[in-house]
């Protein structure tokens, strides 16, 4: 559909139709959910103590887990992008394990790990099983894998030359990364944080298995949808879903805006 062409070719037209139908389907899904409930019912559902707790806990745990994911993703992504060492393809594949494992299995793995002697020692110092820390850990396991992928791509696309020049001017490798590469990677770091945050917001399986679904304790937004559905309160489930859709949209827009401005 290049500029200057007045007639759209059947090729571009067919691609446009496919894209348009898909977008229409997505909008129909969101539209149906948004119009299922009234603003009054929505407000009433969001006013409940449990839902407000769930919103607060989701926002807090997603932020903490995404920050932790970014802290891990920056060095690991850099190692994968710039390091040359034996076994790199295996490490690369191993870091994708949380992405390819079924979510419930991730939760089960966490639960079983904390039954091992090492896990019990860790749980003794900082209890994870069926606690808020467990919610953060379950979100972190999945979010970090996506953040690592993102940061690896970011460092792959940044030339190592400026870093090399910084070293000839007097920097150690670490200082060159800190002063030259990381400022250049800030847009990518924001994207990695946002992706980890968005993944964590939608995380359900591992949290349900590992941290439980206890009201006013480990209940996050996806758990609320599950609990409300299981007791037949469809309006409340829809209200929580709308909150999640709005939050996801805010993240999407923020990533796009940051991409243009940072």
């Amino acid at each position: 559909m290049s500029a200057g062409h007045t007639r759209v070719s059947p090729f571009w037209l067919s691609l446009g139709v496919v894209t348009g139908l898909y977008l229409l389907f997505l909008l129909a899904l969101l539209g149906a959910t948004a119009t299922y409930t009234t603003p009054g019912q929505l407000w009433e559902s969001l006013g409940s103590r449990e839902i407000r707790y769930s919103i607060g806990l989701s926002l807090a745990t997603c932020t903490v887990s995404a920050l932790l994911a970014l802290l891990l993703a920056v060095p690991v992504g850099y190692l994968l992008a710039r390091g040359r060492f034996p076994g790199k393809p295996w490490l690369d594949a191993a870091l994708d394990i949380p992405i390819v494992l079924p979510p419930m299995v991730v939760g089960l793995c966490l639960l079983i790990f904390f039954q091992t002697p090492v896990g019990k020692v860790i749980d003794g110092v900082l209890p994870f099983t069926y606690t808020i820390a467990g919610v953060v850990l379950a979100q972190f396991v999945i979010g970090a894998a996506f953040a690592v992928r993102t940061m690896r791509g970011v460092f792959d696309h940044l030339s190592s030359r400026p870093e090399d020049v910084a070293m000839t001017l007097g920097c150690s490798r670490g200082r060159a990364v800190w002063l030259v590469t990381l400022p250049a990677a800030k847009r990518g770091m924001f994207a990695a944080f946002s992706i980890a945050w968005a993944r964590s917001l939608g995380e359900f399986g591992p949290i349900l298995v590992f941290a439980g679904a206890t009201r006013m304790k480990t209940e996050v937004l996806p758990t609320s949808v599950f609990i409300e559905l299981s007791v037949g309160r469809l309006e409340a489930a829809v209200a929580v879903s709308i909150v999640m859709v709005v939050l996801a949209m805010v993240v999407l827009v923020a990533v796009r805006l940051a991409g243009e401005r940072l």
């Binding site: 020049v165 007097g170 250049a184």
Partner: protein, 217 residues
Amino acid sequence: MIRFDNIAWHAGAFRLENVSFTVPEKSYAVLMGRTGCGKTSLLEILCGLRRPHSGRMFIGGRDVTNEPPGERGIGYVPQDGAMFPTMTVRQNIGFALRLRHRSPDEIQRRVNELAAHLGVAHLLDRLPQNLSGGERQRVALGRALAAKPSVLLLDEPLSALDEELRDDLATLLKKLQRELGVTALHITHSRSEAARLADVLFRFEGGRVIEAKGSIQ
């Protein structure tokens, strides 16, 4: 003076073997060779960015083989300029001085002096993405010279420029090298560039470096 003494390095099937040559003090040396013959790798070895498998390197009589890149007294200008993308021209040029904890006044003085010399004084507050190819190379040159290195290493600094800019920058390079009294090693695959700039000319052949001729001028 720069001296390579039996430098060997290999990566996969690519090998540099027994590379030995000397660039006389305060001369402008040009190293020629085909694309992919190992010119850039040799420069990176001298910078300390790659470790040779054997052999030694000397700068001004000092063995720098095991010294960190920043302590070798080198100013390095890569092919694309490799600007620090989030820093202004002023910050790029002053970078090495900030690392050395020089006073803001001294940094400002040196940056202004170099910027005037290089014709980039009007660009000091710009970011690198708003510079042309020639401007970028001038800034990269200023950044490399800020800490007064004894050796200037130039990796095809003119190859991405159009003919007119190339001539201007070649004149500037030669003038600066003379005025500052640095030893320059410039790598290129362009015969005309070599003929114009070289006091001493070296050629890469079969993984080794040979002196093509003595003083041209």
